[in-house]
């Protein structure tokens, strides 16, 4: 059974930009690529980036922020009252 992830999250839009990467600090360790359950971190031409539509997919677990030993990932929570809504947590 393959579980389709589409439709398994609810959210209120309007989060603002709450995750950023500081390329001056990123050392390309790729830990964020592995840890992100939603696979929102990618690498292209040697550069790590977060997908453009992460605001509508992120589970707000902050694992990318926590796992980043280089402190290159900034994670601020979405604007109050927006973002993921966990109904059955």
């Amino acid at each position: 059974m393959k579980i389709e992830l589409e439709g398994l999250t609810n959210r209120v839009p309007g989060t603002g930009d709450f995750i950023t990467i500081d390329y001056a600090k990123c050392n390309n360790c790729e830990c964020c690529l592995i840890i992100c359950v939603m696979n929102l971190w990618r690498k292209k031409e040697g550069k790590i980036y977060i997908v453009d539509d992460y605001q509508s997919k992120c589970l707000e677990c902050a694992a990318c922020f926590q796992v980043c030993a280089a402190d290159a990932i900034n994670f601020n929570y979405p604007i109050g009252g927006t973002g993921i809504v966990i109904e059955k947590g």
């Binding site: 992830l5 939603m38 677990c61 694992a63 926590q66 809504v85 966990i86 059955k88 947590g89």
Partner: protein, 466 residues
Amino acid sequence: MKKYDLIIIGAGPGGSMAAKTAAEKGLKTIFFERSRKPGEKNSSGCGLGPRMFRDFPEMMKELTPDKCPSMRAGTASRNYFVNNDDIVSGYIMARPTESVSYEPAKSWITMNVYRSEFDPWIAKFATDAGAELKTSTLIVDLLKEDGKICGVIDEKGEKYRAPIVIGADGVISTVAQKSGLRNKWAQNQVTLTLQYDFQAPSDKIDDIMGDETLAVWWGSNFPASYQVFFNDGFHQGLGNWMNWWDKNPLYYLNRVINLKYYQRLLKILDAKPRELQSHLLPWLDYPFNTHTDGVILIGDAGGFPCPLEAEGIYPAMVTGKIAAEVASEAVTSGDVSKATLKRFDEEWQNTSIGKEFEAGCELWNIWKALPFSPKETMSWFVPMIMEILGGIFDWSQPHALRVRQIISHIKSYMPKATPFIMTYVFPLIAKVFEDDLDKLMDPKKIMKVLPKLLDMLPQKKKKRGG
């Protein structure tokens, strides 16, 4: 600028308990929640332990299905043992044993609730007591004057002033970061935990699971995976330390979901995936840096989940209550210095939470070595357990011969089992009994004695009268 006696960031069970306690003591209290209502951002931490009902009886007796429709109390738990080929090779079901000493622990092991129902319920105790709850508000910084913390600032720049701020804002705590208590955890102090919620009809769960409400799936191909049943659904999840993962965590959770046995369970329960959740969970051998001038951290923000099975709500409520009591005295006396707030540590160390952390290091070690080390430990642990449990019920040979076969096979696990027992089990036993087991724990001695002990078991039965 609005002025308060106490500001609390976070309206989970810890924050709400702190707000309730402070308001009852007459403090002008406000607590903030970044979501539209408490519980909207919380996943896992869904198990209410019996100690909550023992220690907060007046509150907990009011928790009823009309207020919290998801609640399901379960008497029994189950441990599934999954072998290296992903086949469920056995399980143990257990109920509270005769030595359990009080109600409701004698009747059930856990009361499970969805946080979206439980957290608003507990927050109402705080607002009823007079605390002000401000939702949909993200606190982004601490207010400082002459280097001293004196309040908080929200995302719109609004300032709120109070002599003490309690950080009840979870594992990645803005209060911890802005107060300088902690920027982030070490990678082995926090786990990533992810879970599916499945919808399943209540009567199917009743018919198939009976009063079992909790299961743990042990196997070598995934970290130990928990299953928690609610009134009309269940969670299936797993976690591990941040630096354990070698591929997307969903891969490991899907290994559990794709077990043949599990697929059959989903089918007969008529279960459908309903939600996917991921969160971080602190898992410390001992809480540290819990307070500084004008700041106290409680619950997950303070690193208080149980070091064995990560129970989080009860420690959050206990530390929340204590933090509010300490804050109340500090505010009244006008001294909110770190030296005064140190009483917070002294107080929680005297509670059931403090007693838990007395063996925190040993519990943490054994948890890391067992459920969080599937390849290293479960690969021999499961076959060994099943050799003992399942080996006896076998008529492939005369039973005495079977016993010898089983013993002989168990001996083959000893090179892995013995160091495990020496390293993780004996230190825990020594701590629990506060005894010096140095002699017993000398690995050389054990390794010398153990094979001899096993050799003493009869290899072959002597002939009668021979």
